[in-house]
Symmetry: C2
């Protein structure tokens, strides 16, 4: 039997690429998504489609009261998603999101007796979130080693972040080489219910530039009359 | 204005003691509890009562799909809570529970701009869970320093675990000195809806021994006809 891997799958461009990478490496795939009150809920539909397409062993969608904490334009109706580039850590940052997501992945890994977790964080063409940086992944790895039954018993649960040093263009190029059709992926923070992207938010901007860098036609379906 | 602290409040003996300690240190209290499908749901009622009694600024109860992951006798109906002492890490261990709880506390701390998180883990009279040990708290502290906006901006979020080196008897003694009435706290893994304890599970056993160590009458309400 092949090794099990848990893939944090948002349904966006990065996480799909990571899933395809893990599949190519021969892992049996367990996809983990979260319904945390994000406004861009259509990404979960994308995660479901992708999980079917890649025949994952199991796709778990966890309901999380992360929006209850507030503080982010991605979950709080009182805050708008900006359409221009921001200084510093932007308002779309969801406090401790990747820490929470990886914690759940860690718990599921223990139950499945999986020793590999994949996450599509990227520290090059990214929004400046603290929990997308290499030092965050390293610190979580150190935590995983002591937080778990596996760790206590001398088995390691490895956090893989294969995109962390890649440009968005490189990620797309690698994904295309793996046969990914990015048309079905949703990265937009303000996607409508039809899964169309705004073209204007930080995530759309990084994605559009990535397709340019990769010299690949952008297959994203944008909302009609977008002005970008 | 006094400093804000987030207290992870299960409603059990340890977390109440920690809450009283933080109050004595002059913090403004924010209590955080989780509804994660635990069978011993009456502990949440205890957490609510305690939050009122101690006049916390806010008590947040987060709904968590932690039970969806399975693997623990505390959340999985297919697994029974043992009534005898177990070898190794017991089946009542909820995979990555404290990692998930602290992650949420970290997110809330960012939103509140709080710099202190209190957790009632204890590594002396405890059930042998990996995420109750000093090395776990140290690793989470290191993670908190890099995972957050506060960390990036040079401010620290400190994880306080004031019970970590205390015996259960010492915890109870300190709590009594702080005026805690432990009658209202629930530690039992199998408490009934009236909040009565089984007296037989690991958590009951540690608690009973703690009252003996502290030479304090055990105020716990036990289920009638318990045979321990």
């Amino acid at each position: 039997m092949s090794k099990k891997a848990i893939i944090l799958l948002s349904g966006g461009l990065d996480s799909v690429t990571v899933l395809a990478m893990a599949k190519q490496q021969g892992y049996t795939l367990y996809a983990l998504s979260f319904d945390y009150g994000q406004k861009h809920n259509s990404e979960l539909e994308s995660a479901k489609r992708i999980s079917q397409l890649y025949q994952v062993e199991e796709h778990k969608i966890i309901n999380l009261g992360l929006g209850d904490i507030g503080g982010s334009a991605l979950t709080d109706d009182a805050l708008s998603v900006p359409t221009t580039e921001q200084e510093g850590i932007p308002i779309t940052y969801v406090p401790a999101r990747n820490t929470v997501f990886l914690s759940f992945a860690l718990g599921w890994a223990e139950v499945l007796e999986a020793h590999d977790i994949f996450i599509g964080v990227n520290a090059v063409d990214y929004s400046g979130y603290p929990d997308c940086r290499p030092q965050f992944i390293e610190a979580f790895q150190a935590l995983a080693n002591v937080a778990t039954k596996a760790g206590v018993e001398g088995q390691k649960i490895t956090i893989h972040a294969p995109l962390i040093d890649l440009s968005k263009g490189d990620i797309i190029q690698q994904g295309i080489n793996l046969g990914i059709d990015y048309a079905g992926t949703i990265s937009c923070y303000s996607a409508n219910s039809a899964g169309e992207a705004c073209g204007e938010c930080d995530s759309c901007r990084l994605r559009r530039e990535g397709f340019k860098q990769a010299k690949v036609a952008d297959p994203t379906r944008y909302i009609k009359n977008s002005t970008f």
